[in-house]
């Protein structure tokens, strides 16, 4: 390690003010702090020792928590592909196909997002912030596998610039950045984001795994089928017309956005986030509670549509509900920040997501819009929690005057 340290020290002057590579200072800085813990010491007044936790560690924990969903997503992409083209291949071939199909999205998302972050940091003369490491990982997981790469690039750029950098960077944003990218795609390129043909890669992945789609194949997601159902019976099927139930949604070998399908993989992630206390269990639990509650309400009193009759427990395992609850709603920056507020915030996300799913057939999936909408209201919820504390203080003061 000493050799590396010496090398970093040797090239440092090039990146400092007046050096040849001055314009790449924040890049150098980013790599240096990535490789070595900075030797910045505490100021004269204040705490002279600090907890070893930093944003790098927190953010990388979230990424670790996302890995099961990513790996399962890759496998599922391959699985669905070979199912669609009617070839029987082994596990590793399926995984390899999925890997090759998903990898370009990860590369594009990181290249575009980090590129903008680096430039932004250089312009502002600040350190590179870690927030995008999570965002860049989330984006490939919440899009259909057939989204053109250039769209992902445009959406990522839009989200990073207009949902984050203009507000001041990580920690200052109002909306969940990855969801803004998703919303941008959803409203900008609707034909590529919904329908029956976007969820399963029927073509090749980087030239690998070609074949022809077999007859009787339909690539609609369960929620898509519900939203467009012609009867009021909530019957969902897989790509070949076999019925799907709760446990199919739980395991997740069904069409859908890359990372959202498997509850098992998401639960692994949730476990990591909860034991490390990076995500709030209050938010997570209350989203599920709100979703279940609203699902039951519609089951009992809802209109006579397929979506309203869709069993409440199925709402929780199909579509992006669980993924959103675990990884999106718990984003500490855009969620409610007070402990009481987290309960209300989560509950409303759960309720709204189901309301949108059931009452608006135009949007088969309500989770994205529910979270974005509650992102707006999170500060308002916090305002009332904080105001209660303020009022208590005022009434205490008035009592002491009397």
């Amino acid at each position: 390690m000493n050799a590396l340290r010496n090398f970093m020290d040797k090239i440092k002057p090039y990146f400092e003010k007046g050096g040849k590579l001055e314009k790449l200072h924040s890049v150098y800085d980013g790599f240096e702090t990535f490789l070595f813990v900075p030797t910045t010491t505490a100021p004269k007044y204040g705490s002279h020792i600090h907890d070893p936790v930093d944003t790098k560690r927190t953010m990388s924990t979230v990424i670790v928590a996302l890995v099961p969903a990513l790996l399962f997503g890759m496998y599922n992409v391959g699985y669905q592909h070979y199912l669609a083209i009617g070839q029987d291949v082994n596990f590793w071939t399926e995984f390899l196909f999925g890997f090759l199909a998903v990898l370009p999205y990860i590369v594009v998302s990181y290249a575009v997002g980090l590129g903008i972050e680096f430039i932004g940091a250089q312009i502002k003369g600040e350190e590179i912030q870690e927030g995008f490491l999570v965002t860049g990982f989330l984006i490939p997981l919440i899009i259909p596998i057939n989204t053109p790469l250039w769209m992902v690039a445009v959406a990522t750029a839009f989200a990073v610039i207009f949902a984050k950098e203009v507000f001041g960077g990580t920690g200052m944003n109002i909306f969940n950045v990855a969801l803004v990218a998703r919303a941008f795609l959803f409203f900008g390129y609707p034909t590529h984001m919904s329908g029956d043909s976007v969820w399963i890669r029927t073509g090749t992945a980087l030239g690998f795994g070609g074949g022809n789609v077999v007859d009787a194949f339909s690539g609609a997601t369960p929620l898509g089928q519900i939203a467009t159902a012609s009867t009021s019976v909530p019957h969902i099927t897989d790509t070949f017309g076999h019925s799907l139930g709760f446990w199919d949604g739980f395991v997740g070998l069904i069409p859908g956005s890359v990372g959202e399908t498997s509850i098992i993989a998401i639960m692994l992630g949730a476990f990591i986030l909860l034991i490390t206390e990076v995500a709030s269990w209050k938010t997570m639990l209350s989203v599920f509670f709100g979703g279940a509650l609203m699902g039951i309400v519609f089951n009992l009193f809802g209109p006579d549509t397929a979506a309203a009759h869709f069993p409440w427990y199925n709402h929780l395992v199909f579509g992006g509900f669980a993924f959103g609850a675990v990884f999106m709603a718990t984003d500490p920056v855009t969620s409610a920040r007070t402990e009481k507020g987290k309960w209300i915030y989560g509950l409303l996300i759960g309720c709204l997501a189901i309301i949108i799913r059931v009452l608006n057939p135009g949007y088969a999936e309500g989770m994205m819009l529910a979270i974005l909408l509650m992102n707006i209201f999170a500060p308002l919820i916090d305002f009332y929690v904080v105001d209660a504390n303020v009022k208590k203080r005022i009434s205490r003061a008035q009592k002491s005057i009397q």
Binding site: P38, T40, N389
Partner: protein, 460 residues
């Protein structure tokens, strides 16, 4: 039975180097210095010149705003120099001390016959007033205001804090006199915070006070936390606070009629070879405590006060009159930790669940691995960011305050919000743990200090 207040909010940081319970010797340097910067908020007007003779208790400078507020010499001797820096800012006043201390005569006033006003003017004149502090703003008490109550915490829960039951052994008579004097300065009560479940706690025998017992991790020993639980400060109210050892100055003044600022401080910290207690005087040089008793070969940081809210000083500096502790830790500038954010870092103590610390401190693992020795240094171990994680500060601040919102009001300089969110009740030391645990590495104590100064300037 006294009241017992319990809390689980807070954090005890396990750090090595607690002082053994023995007083090593008396350390008073030949040259002592009075540093105006240590008396926060005082605008000094120097009253002596180089070459003047002073006694213990002779005023050396006073406050330009409250001219009767003297800061006095702790020793008798000859004024060596009045040192000034840029823009004639007063750096310090050095005094070469006599071998035998001569004391200024204050005529041995008898406490029973004095009124509150007379006690006040005596304390102001004798230079004991700076040891009485006030909330709001955590500054030296404004002598023109009457406090609604006075708080003293008899225990310190900060890392490796000195044990006041040990320090005060044989001095409880002076402590009691101090209490009796303060009781005349407020129409309200004098509150004494006592640590619960301490066998034969002498502080429980103190009279003329309202005793409350406290149980919980640091910062429950902080007087600010105790005020918030017992008698919170509202807008327009003032509460005074005095440190345990500073109570002795008041007691000695009325018992003996002299200014005797002797105090005991603990030399502590992982880089001290033999951590011990020393008798000393405010203004003594730092070096004589350190020399030969610290580990060599690494850059060291000397801290007056405790490790999470003290002041970093140079070895050539002088003891802060408010400090009861000198702390020595590794500065850390020569440590180059490779990929630190991703490593297990078993030797680091963290309040989060992102390290193995919480696991290793469980009984089961302690049996297998033994007591883990955590290493500490002065690096902030990360980069400064905007506030990202929520509920971090709340867990270590046992006050009825929403810290994140108060800090945001302070950062943005919004005085109305500071007022509404508890700005009157907080002091920098109360948020020391918030600063320790902060993922975003914000200098919260500096933020609070500057905000309080701004509030004071705007609202008084």
């Amino acid at each position: 039975m006294t009241n017992v207040i319990k809390t689980t909010k807070g954090l005890d940081i396990p750090i090595d180097g607690a002082a053994q319970k023995m007083i090593e010797r008396t350390v008073i340097s030949d040259i002592v210095a009075l540093v105006p910067d240590y008396y926060h908020g005082i605008i000094p007007k120097v009253l002596v010149r180089a070459g003047d003779r002073v006694k213990a208790g002779t005023p050396v400078f006073h406050d330009k705003i409250h001219e009767n507020l003297n800061i006095v010499s702790p020793v008798s001797g000859k004024v060596l120099a009045v040192n000034r820096g840029e823009k004639r800012k007063l750096i310090n006043i050095t005094i070469e001390r006599d071998v035998v201390n001569e004391y200024e005569n204050f005529g041995h006033p008898s406490l029973e016959s004095l009124s509150g006003e007379e006690i006040k003017s005596a304390l102001l004149k004798a230079g004991i007033w700076p040891y009485i502090k006030q909330r709001p703003y955590d500054v030296i008490a404004n002598p023109n205001k009457t406090p609604k109550s006075i708080f003293i915490s008899s225990f310190d829960t900060a890392p490796l804090a000195p044990d006041y039951n040990f320090i005060l052994k044989g001095q409880f008579a002076d402590f009691q006199t101090g209490i009796d004097a303060l009781a005349k300065l407020t129409p309200g009560k004098v509150h004494l915070g006592v640590k619960a479940n301490v066998p034969s706690n002498e502080f429980l025998k103190v009279k003329n006070v309202e005793i409350t017992e406290y149980e919980g991790p640091h910062p429950i020993g902080n007087v600010g936390i105790q005020i918030n639980h017992v008698d919170p400060i509202n807008k327009g109210e003032v509460v005074w606070t005095v440190n345990v050892q500073d109570m002795l100055y008041i007691g000695r003044f009325f018992n003996k009629g002299i200014i005797d600022l002797k105090k005991i401080i603990a030399l502590t910290g992982p880089e001290v070879i033999e951590p011990k207690y020393y008798t000393t005087l405010p203004g003594t040089a730092v070096a004589p405590f350190i020399n030969g008793n610290v580990h060599k070969g690494i850059p060291l940081r000397y801290i007056l006060g405790n490790v999470i809210s003290g002041i970093k000083v140079d070895i050539n500096d002088f003891i802060d009159p408010y400090a009861s502790q000198i702390f020595v830790i590794d500065e850390g500038t020569e440590i180059h930790e490779f990929l630190g954010w991703a490593m297990p870092r078993l030797n680091k103590f963290s309040a989060t669940k992102l390290f193995f610390t919480p696991l290793l401190q469980k009984k089961f693992f302690k049996k297998i691995f033994g007591d883990i020795k955590f290493s500490y240094d002065a690096r902030i171990l990360g980069g400064r960011r905007a506030i990202i994680m929520s509920n971090e500060y709340d867990r270590v601040l046992p006050m009825d305050i929403l810290p994140e919102y108060l800090f945001k009001a302070m950062i943005t300089g919004n005085i109305d919000k500071m007022e509404a969110l508890g700005g009157y009740e907080i002091a920098p030391e109360d948020v020391a743990l918030c600063e320790f645990v902060c993922t975003s590495k914000l200098p919260l104590q500096l933020i609070v200090r500057e905000a309080l100064d701004m509030m004071k300037k705007e609202l008084e």
